[in-house]
Amino acid sequence: MKIKAIGAIAILLIIIGASCQSDDQIEFKRYYSGGSLVYQQHCQNCHGDKGQGLSSLIPPLTDSTYLKQNKAVLACFIKNGLKRKITVAGRTFDDDMQADDIAPLEIAKVLTYVSNSFGNKMGTVTLQQVQDDLRNCK
């Protein structure tokens, strides 16, 4: 009986706690945690567990300025790959990144993860944004 009562109170507290978060926060957390899995499977081998990249072969994902300036084309980089010279963190990189044709929702999640990890803080990248950006890929 006592256990049941404690359990009921605990569940109530969890519900109250969860309802305190705004829908935006919940969406952010869902995207972020899902994105961390996509990152491990599709990105981490090359870009590293801390987004550190690899010397001058693979760019780091820690350059917030670069990410902000290229926000609208990041989805295209993932979907179509990247085959031109870029300057990240003051260094130039000209090796190809492979295309990875993952679903737009997965792109949104992984971009949310990357742009809010490794010292970056850019908020949620929504599915709608990714779909719009993908339509404008060159």
Binding site: N45, G48, Q52, S55
Partner: protein, 215 residues
């Protein structure tokens, strides 16, 4: 008084364990008993597998044979520059080994490309430059595909041709070789903890009396 004794015993046990970790590294690979006649007596000795002679070219277009590794402890691995899966992880970890021993002329790292058609000498040089390695500590070796695949077996490694998806399948191990060209350890090159152990083992091996006297 009793407590003191218990304390002393625990301390002794602890020290015993500590000294155990200092023991020499094992010798891996196939062993064959060899019977010889020395001074009229028949003795049986164990002969350990060694890396056979080879001839490859490094990123500076210098010919590298087993003679260039005489008197050196070295680490070998197999990779290719366009590898999208495990190679970046392996070489991110190998850079730690490089940084630790790059001033030691009796130490080398050799990375064999398993895709010699694409990874020509200039491609390997470019990769080395971008990886940030210089000098002669770390050689990226180019050679006939057959030669590379054959020597991989001596290192107990499995490499094979491209699969139908166009990917090369290969092991991601780092293999530690001593001055007598015997295998002293294999380490999962994608695991930072194993690579930390490799660095510790290289230090242990360097301090081995058997290695200090070897030429």
């Amino acid at each position: 008084m009793r407590k003191l004794w218990i304390g002393i015993v625990i301390l002794m046990l602890f020290n015993a364990c500590k000294s155990n970790t200092k023991t020499a590294l094992p010798i891996l690979g196939y062993k064959t008993p060899v019977t010889k006649t020395v001074n009229g007596k028949t003795v049986t000795d164990t002969e350990y597998a060694t890396i056979p002679p080879f001839k490859f070219v490094n990123q500076y277009a210098d010919t590298i044979t087993q003679k260039n590794l005489d008197g050196k402890i070295y680490v070998a691995d197999f990779f290719f520059t366009t590898c999208p899966s495990i190679c970046p992880v392996m070489h991110r970890n190998m850079l730690n080994v490089y940084k630790e021993f790059k001033d030691d002329d009796n130490f080398r790292i050799i990375s064999h490309t398993i895709d010699p058609k694409y990874d020509t000498v200039p491609v390997l040089k470019r990769y080395a430059d971008k990886l940030g390695i210089a000098g002669n500590t770390w050689w990226l070796l180019h050679g006939e595909k057959g030669d590379t695949y054959k020597i991989a077996k001596s290192y107990l490694q499995s490499v094979s041709e491209k699969n139908p998806k166009g990917e090369y399948i290969h092991d991601g191990f780092f293999i530690l070789i001593d001055k007598q060209k015997r295998i002293r350890g294999t380490y999962e090159g994608t695991d930072p903890a194993e690579v930390t152990k490799l660095i510790a083992d290289i230090k242990t091996l360097k301090a081995d009396p058997d290695q200090i006297t070897a030429k």
